[in-house]
Amino acid sequence: MIYLDNAATTKTSLAARQAMLDCMEQFWGNPSSLHTPGQRAAEALAVAREKVAACIGASPREIYFTSGGSEADNQAILSAALLGKKKGKTHLISTAIEHHAVLHTLARLEREGFSVTLLPVDESGIVKVSDVAAAIREDTALVSVMFANNEIGTIQPVAEIGALCRERKIPFHTDAVQAAGHLPIDVVSQNIDMLSLSGHKFHGPRGVGVLYVRKGLPLLNLIEGGAQERGKRAGTENLPAIAGMAAALQEACAHLEENAQKERVLRDRLIEGLSRIPHSALNGDRNCRLPGNVNFCFEGIEGESLLLLLDDKGIAASSGSACTSGSLDPSHVLLAIGRPHEVAHGSLRLTLSEETTREEIDQAVRAVTEVVERLRGMSPVWDELQKGVRPYVIQ
């Protein structure tokens, strides 16, 4: 199997698995216990916290372990909103292309009386800093802009938006789930107040994530019941997962530039190969994108059937079509960059890891080319496009 769905999840690394096993064998105590097994676990937890903090330029006290990226996003947004409300600030700013962990949390707050501005993005999927500036109001409680998009891989001008928010004294949160371990992150120089990341996107385990909150910025907890995470997240710490995530992140950050360079070369080869398919188009910015992300639209076909036939050929990928999302609408991200519905249904996301090989990429290009041709051969839409009954959207 050629695994090209690393944005969905990654295989755990040896370092992550070893760290998890070590925890389960040696540091199985409860970190809150005063006895020796407990304190050994507490030490392991502290070490993991230091490792994570070092990877993003934070201090250990600014790191809160959560159950994953979604919980971290929920907590950052709900906390900022509720704290803002106490000061009469009930306006929240974000973008149209955020992950649903952000969008659905904002929608919930909107139903509860907050006002939400979702900024548009340009056709390459990048939000304009000037749009953020223009959207800021007296009562803005939070700006949340993702570091890099999970579908089309575009990287946002996070440091600039952070600087703007710092100047306007508005808390700035970034969902860095796709960026952590893949792009350089430094919360200080990038002016980030809150940041979410998830363990399983860089070869760590799933079910664990991090919320970074800058020192001095208040944080409300979502889960009550204990003093863990300095009272901000109750529940006995999932130490094996936390240690596994810390080991994976440390490893990813130690090889970040080398891995990114390797992936970029193969990514560009894949983009070049798929561009040769007629009436296909790359989604997202050509250069300002995650090193491992490729996302294409193919006119005249639908994404789910594309995925199933690719799976038959041993290639694991994903799509933004409605059929794969379980709704009637295709990906909100593809719609936000201006792809019409009928083209957004025919999207394909291929996401690489540093272990992806050139042979795998060449095989993927051949397989996608064959499958697209086969599906077009039985598509009435493609037939109409070719006969000129229907105009091509992608030239």
């Binding site: 639908e302 059937s305 409605a322 059929c323 019409p340």
Partner: protein, 143 residues
């Protein structure tokens, strides 16, 4: 698995793909915005569906239901083809996931649309109630 083996078989090896030239009946339903379009062409001899072909833009179950529907009406009198229900297609495929049932509705409607076209072309009288709701909105209302 999302789909039954039967669905995967009809998806991987679809029967009756293509378009009959100078077809006696042509039916196209769905729309590209919703992500599925089916086109069924029929050859009709002495009131019997002697051949049926399809082309489909859509997901795995859209392709499988088109394939199965054309198989089920081939060799049948037109009146029997008209009676093909989406449930019958679903059963023949050993079931579909709940959110894919609309694909089978689309297949039923494509067959009906093709027969209606045949009736219209040949000035054969019919009860218009047989063909109400041949559009994408109604198919999604069946979800």
């Amino acid at each position: 698995m999302l789909y039954s083996e039967k669905v995967m078989d009809h998806f991987r090896n679809p029967r009756n793909v293509g378009e009959i030239e100078n077809a006696d009946g042509v039916g196209q339903v769905g729309n590209a915005k919703c992500g599925d379009i089916m086109r069924i062409t029929l050859k009709i001899d002495n009131g019997v569906v002697s051949d049926a072909k399809f082309t489909t833009f859509g997901c795995g179950s859209a392709i499988a239901t088109s394939s199965m529907a054309t198989e089920m009406i081939k060799g049948k009198p037109v009146e029997e083809a008209l009676e093909l229900s989406n449930q019958a297609v679903v059963e023949a495929l050993d079931g579909l996931p709940a959110h894919k049932i609309h694909c089978s509705v689309l297949a039923e409607e494509a067959v009906k649309a093709a027969v209606k076209d045949y009736y219209d072309k040949n000035h054969i009288a019919y009860d218009p109630k047989l063909f109400c709701g041949l559009d994408c909105e109604s198919c999604h209302a069946h979800d």
